[in-house]
């Protein structure tokens, strides 16, 4: 018997996560293809993939930096500073292109500075994706923009994207979504083998490598877990859910799952480096671009796009969260909020209220570029103590 950490597949995910730039460079050497960095999970990667492009999610490195402040306001979130810092330091020197599907302001600004200031960027594309995903016309509009995007990709690469290219891309991406969903389903178990840290490595690495390759490794990984070849070597403790945005800081997971006086395990991450990235399949029924448009418009929304409209007064994301809490038997929620993220901040008071009504304990942590480990430890431990400190009393 082995543990998850000992599985070669897990080691592969971590290697991809840690050596993301090397992977992309090698991929280029091997295939001669173009690599495009993208901001935000609303980007229809399938269109690029169909053109033979390797789309990679632009991420930061969680290292303090001092080079973005001439360009980005201090009150823009640490993520957009961090991503731009990578670009300015030349770490994305292998990219030919950069693109963004319209999301929040902060990423928009980071994208523009990225596109303007990085020399190797020969192609950039701002994709106006709807903000109003709770709106019956958003699908048509997204389709229209996807079509323009597809044309732009074709023009740039000189390659016509055929229907069968798109079908193939959709199939590969859907397969990845199915596998990732299955991986999350396995965490419903009383003794889940996959921790939040593992899940983070797996989901994030899928945004950095060729999906077909990721699918192979993930299939084999899940097979081993399902076949009972893997044992658990840690206490599960409190079942936690993470609600947030770009939470890919290993230190955060290591602290909460491996570094506290009390055991705790994340069994679900509702964030854009977790479930929001892959939840929901493309229903390919002929009009491929429309199928893509619908998938991206009607997936679990980012708070930036999730707002009341007409008769709909709630938040679609909250309905999803409610289901997860029930189905994954969540005991406590960590709301990990990226500092200065307005869309999240505008949901948090209502989210707290909803969780209170459900009787689910929650804790709000404000994430920065690096995390204040001492303070976070006290807060999380205190929450867990408050949940079950009976044996401390006589």
């Amino acid at each position: 018997m082995v543990t998850v950490d000992e599985l070669p597949e897990m080691k592969k995910f971590i290697e991809w996560f840690e050596n993301r730039h090397e992977y992309a460079k090698k991929w280029k050497e091997k295939t001669g293809g173009k690599v495009v960095g993208y901001y935000c999970t609303y980007m229809p990667e399938e269109i690029m993939y169909a053109a033979g492009i390797l789309p990679v999610r632009i991420l930061g490195s969680h290292e303090p930096e001092s080079i973005t402040r001439p360009y980005l306001h201090d009150m823009y979130c640490p993520f957009c500073h961090d991503t731009l810092a990578q670009a300015l330091q030349g770490r994305y020197d292998y990219l030919e292109g950069v693109t963004i599907a319209q999301s929040c302001l902060h990423m928009r600004q980071s994208y523009f500075s990225f596109a303007d200031r990085v020399e190797n960027i020969e192609w950039s594309y701002y994709l106006p994706f709807p903000h109003g995903v709770n709106n019956p016309h958003a699908g048509d509009f997204a389709r229209h923009e996807f079509e323009k995007f597809k044309k732009a990709v074709e023009e740039w690469t000189g390659k016509e994207i055929t229907d069968s290219d798109l079908d193939n891309a959709i199939e590969v991406y859907n397969r990845n979504r199915e596998l990732l969903t299955k991986m999350f389903e396995l965490r419903k178990a009383d003794e889940p083998l996959i921790t939040g840290l593992h899940a983070m490595y797996i989901v994030v690495s899928s945004q950095l490598v060729d999906k077909a390759e990721h699918n192979q490794v993930l299939e084999s990984f899940l097979e081993k877990i399902e076949n009972g070849q893997v044992e658990n070597d840690r206490e599960i403790g409190t079942r936690l859910m993470l609600i947030g945005s770009e939470d890919y800081d290993e230190e955060l997971f290591k602290l909460i799952e491996y570094g506290m006086s009390y055991p705790a395990t994340f069994v679900f991450e509702e964030n854009c480096t977790g479930s929001r990235y892959f939840w929901g399949l493309v229903e390919n029924n002929g009009d491929r671009l429309m199928a893509l448009a619908k998938r991206y418009v009607y997936r679990v929304p980012c708070p930036a796009k999730d707002w009341a409209r007409g008769d709909f007064f709630g938040r679609r994301r909250f309905q999803f969260i409610e289901d997860v809490i029930r189905d994954w038997n969540i005991e406590a929620v960590i709301i990990a909020q990226m500092k200065f993220c307005d869309p999240h901040e505008l949901d948090i008071p209502s989210l707290r209220e909803m969780l209170d009504k459900m009787g689910v304990r929650h804790l709000h942590l404000e994430l920065d570029l690096t995390q204040p480990v001492g303070q976070f430890r006290t807060r999380v431990e205190a929450m867990i103590e408050a949940m079950g400190e009976e044996d401390l009393f006589i």
Binding site: E366, T378, A382, A386, E389, E390, F393, I394
Partner: protein, 293 residues
């Protein structure tokens, strides 16, 4: 290099105390709680759940050494007690992870909740703990079990520390600023911010405008108490209400919080700065008894 003499207006004095009226050897369980905070360290010895002795010292640069120092100081004061006589030790506070001789560590939030019930009686439901770095609003049940808690956000970090900074700026010892701030005929407008960095620049402005120390302190404490009340109201204030931590000794802040909440804070039975260590010692006793069952 220019060296300038620094005065230490911001430091709390150290105290060591033992209850001479009791004999610890009569007790069945001797428990110890150590609260290793950012500025001060408290070591408390309890005999069968009653406060017997304590030391309140400055925290040094080594947590382990600070904890040792405080425990040794209290043992020395007692005279005939040794480490071996202590049945169980619980560490709490910022430095809890580096007290090697503690049997267990528990967060200061749980300990302050538990300790508050001892210090203020079991009617306390809402506890405000205001330390150097953090601000905590804690709701407890009659046994001191934490029901809910909230901590400050980044921009209110260091509110307690801010008070130390102001002491330094005005050259008034920290033990006196509270009283002094109440000596104003009329409450001045609060300084507009509790961000320590910004408040400093604002206070410098006031110094230059010729404001008296009393008025400046009043304006600053007015702002601090608003920020504290904001946090309290977010967790929901249920009577009775009590304040623990170093700031509880600052009447300038306490009175203003009371005024804003329209609620009296409970009077402490013992030094409220000890609440965390007392809570730790009480948990230590419970854990020891359970371990024997």
């Amino acid at each position: 290099m220019v060296t300038v003499q620094e005065s230490e207006y911001w430091r709390w004095p150290e105290t060591i105390w033992v209850d001479e009226s009791k004999n610890w050897q009569d007790a069945e369980v001797i428990s110890c709680g150590i609260d290793l905070g950012s500025v001060s360290t408290q070591a408390v010895i309890m005999a069968d759940g009653e406060l017997y002795a304590y030391a309140s010292m400055r925290t040094g640069t080594s947590s382990t050494a600070s904890a040792e120092k405080a425990v040794n100081a209290v043992l020395e004061k007692i005279g005939d007690m040794t480490r071996e006589n202590i049945h169980y030790t619980v560490g709490t506070g910022y430095g809890r992870v580096s007290i090697p001789f503690a049997n267990k560590t528990i967060t200061e939030i749980a300990c302050h909740g538990r300790g508050a019930v001892y210090v203020y009686g079991n009617t306390v439901r809402t506890v405000l703990d205001m330390g150097g770095q953090d601000l905590k609003a804690i709701k407890v049940d009659s046994r001191g079990k934490v029901i809910n808690f909230l901590m400050n956000d980044k921009c209110a970090a260091g509110t307690g520390r801010g008070i130390e900074v102001v002491c330094d700026m005005l050259s008034v010892p920290i033990t006196e600023v509270g009283e002094l701030s109440l000596k104003v005929d009329e409450e001045p407008e609060p300084v507009s911010t509790t961000c320590v960095v910004f408040a400093k620049s604002e206070i410098l402005g006031l110094i230059r405008k010729g404001w008296s120390k009393e008025m400046i302190l009043a304006a600053f404490f007015n702002a601090v108490s608003s920020r504290v009340v904001e946090l309290l109201e977010r967790v929901g204030v249920e009577p009775d209400f009590a304040i623990t931590g170093g700031i509880s000794k600052n009447v300038g802040v306490v009175r203003r919080i009371e005024r804003k909440l329209n609620m009296k804070a409970l009077e402490p039975k013992v030094d409220p700065q000890l609440a965390g260590a007392i809570g730790a010692a009480l948990f230590a006793r419970a854990l020891y008894i359970k371990s024997k069952k």
